[in-house]
Structure formats: structure tokens, C-alpha cells
Symmetry: C2
Subunit: 150 residues, 2 copies
DNA sequence: TATTGAGCTAGAGCCCACTCTAGCTTCTAC
DNA sequence: GTAGAAGCTAGAGTGGGCTCTAGCTCAATA
């Protein structure tokens, strides 16, 4: 890992993709795995490992984990060894949640693709037919309703 | 399609999964494909086809299409035949957007599963090893950073 | 020495998509 | 004729996750 290089908030912002505002906000919210140290002049100092944590954080966030849930996880981690089963539990919970999201999103995509196909067919036929009359075929049972919509 | 049965806002709420508040809100926002008619006493009347549209709407919404974008689409539809290419374009745009979301979400899931595996291995080994030291194997290049996080 | 740029804090503001409230009317059942 | 359920409008409130602002300090450069 080499020597731990000091990083400024600006550098961390650039490399993590988070804004300096967000970084300060995350700190206030107790979302850092390691406490953020300061220079004698009050400026924040970060290290490479913070970037690792922020990368994970960002994945958790963008898959819909709330800051509150992330805080819960990081607080366990900060307490040190011994609570790994709880941390694992939180991760597994979120894993399920993401799987759920994926399948819902896939269902949406099926409906959208169906719709796209209806419009494509309509246009290919030279607009000689009426749109949103008899459907070609449903993507699934539960999405039937979408047939009779614009 | 049978005779068009009149539906109250309560019935539509129950069958669409949207709240009565949301239905009134959608109407104000111009999100209905057909104008919502009223009984002589001022109450809203809906029909089966509105449920079809709301089902599609709900899919679009839950895949991240904004109400503004839905309005754009529905406004084209209300203008009648002739603008199908534009409607198709909007749908294709959203289709791309959803595909993007799916792949991002899948990437997140890969990271989370990796993390779960690390904790599982750790616990299986009887906690004799240190957590978040040498990683087993990365799920992908760009997620490397996540290794060195709790 | 003056300016510029980066950083600091506390706190206000924003956006979206609803959700809820207040105060009123109308329908249905008993 | 009275209670209760359902509906109506206008408008206020909510929540999460930032984002932005004001007013300040500090360090490096011209």
C-alpha cells in the first residue's frame, strides 16, 4: 500500500466523485469508517483507505442504501471485531433489496421494450393501423394493463 | 373490452396502487391520457382504460422517468396521430436510461456480493484472520477500491 | 503587499413527488 | 334526519440527500 499520502478534501472530492460539500456532510453524519483528522490549521486530511471506503459507500448509496443504513453498518465496523455477523446481516439484507430492485427494473424494461416494439411496428406499417388497439403480445401477465395505453 | 364501467377515485386508487391524493395530483399535473370527467356532483369518473395508462405510468415512474418526461409523452399522445416518431424517441431514450440503471445496479450487486463473501469467509475461518486485509478477488477492475473498506 | 484559491463553519435552501390538512359537500344506510 | 364514508379544493408540509451561501482564515504567488 505504500506510504499513506495525505489528501486534501479537494483531491478526495475529485477522486471519489463526491463534492466537497458531500464529504463534509458525510463526516457530520458519521459516515466515515475512520475519523477524519485535521491539520493544525483545521483542514481535513484524508488517506487512500478513505477512498476505498467512499467507493464502497458510493456503490451502497447508488443501489439505494440510505445514509442511515450505511451509518449503522459503519458504526458496527468502528466498534471493532466481534460484530461481523451483524455486519454481514446488513449486507445480506441490502443484497436482497438490490436483487428486488433489479427484477423490478427488468420488469419495467420489458414493458418499455414492448411499447417500443408496438410503436416500431406501427410506423413500419406506414401508420395504416391504429395505435393502441389490439396488442401483439404481453411481456407478462401482470403487465397486461399497459396494452391499452398510449 | 365490454361496456365502459364508471370507476370512482377510490376504486382507481385501490386498483392502481396509487393514492387518491396522487391521482388528483397527477390530474393537476396533466398526466392523464384522457381528460378526467366529472359527475354532476363534481366527483371524478374514471374508466378501465385509465387503469391501463396508470399501469404504464407506474412502470415508467418506478423506472425513474420523471413526471415532466411522462407529461411530455402524454402531451404528444393527446395531440393525436402524426407524432409517433417523437413518442417512440422518448420511449427509446428512457429504454436506454433503464438499461444504464440496470447495469449500474448489477455492478453494485457484484460489489455487495463480493463483500458478503469476504465476511462469510472470515466467519467460516473462525475469525482467526483479520478482516479487510488482503482481498480474495475483485469483482471488477473499477471496483478495486472497495477492497480496503470495512 | 495584495490577490487568488482552497478550506473552514453554521445554517439556509432546494428538488421532487407526493402526502396531509382544513373545511366543506354529497351520498348511503339506518 | 342523522351518522359516517367518500369526495371536493386549495394549499401547506415532508423527507432525503445533498447544494449553496455568507463570512471568515490561511498559504502561496506576483
Amino acid at each position: 500500500m505504500g506510504v499513506s499520502v495525505d489528501l486534501s478534501i479537494g483531491e478526495v472530492a475529485e477522486r471519489s466523485g463526491l463534492s466537497v460539500h458531500a464529504l463534509r456532510f458525510y463526516e457530520r453524519e458519521g459516515l466515515f469508517a475512520n475519523p477524519v483528522r485535521r491539520l493544525s490549521n483545521g483542514r481535513r486530511v484524508y488517506h487512500e483507505e478513505d477512498l476505498g471506503w467512499l467507493a464502497l459507500c458510493t456503490k451502497l448509496r447508488s443501489s439505494g442504501m440510505s445514509l442511515a443504513a450505511i451509518r449503522q453498518y459503519v458504526e458496527l465496523a468502528r466498534q471493532g471485531a466481534g460484530n461481523e455477523p451483524q455486519r454481514l446481516e446488513l449486507l445480506r439484507e441490502h443484497e436482497k433489496h438490490v436483487e428486488q430492485q433489479l427484477s423490478e427494473l427488468q420488469e419495467c424494461l420489458d414493458v418499455i421494450r414492448y411499447k417500443v416494439r408496438v410503436y416500431e411496428d406501427h410506423l413500419a406499417r406506414g401508420e395504416a393501423d391504429q395505435l393502441w388497439s389490439p396488442p401483439i403480445q404481453a411481456p407478462s401477465q401482470s403487465n397486461e394493463d399497459c396494452h391499452r395505453a398510449p
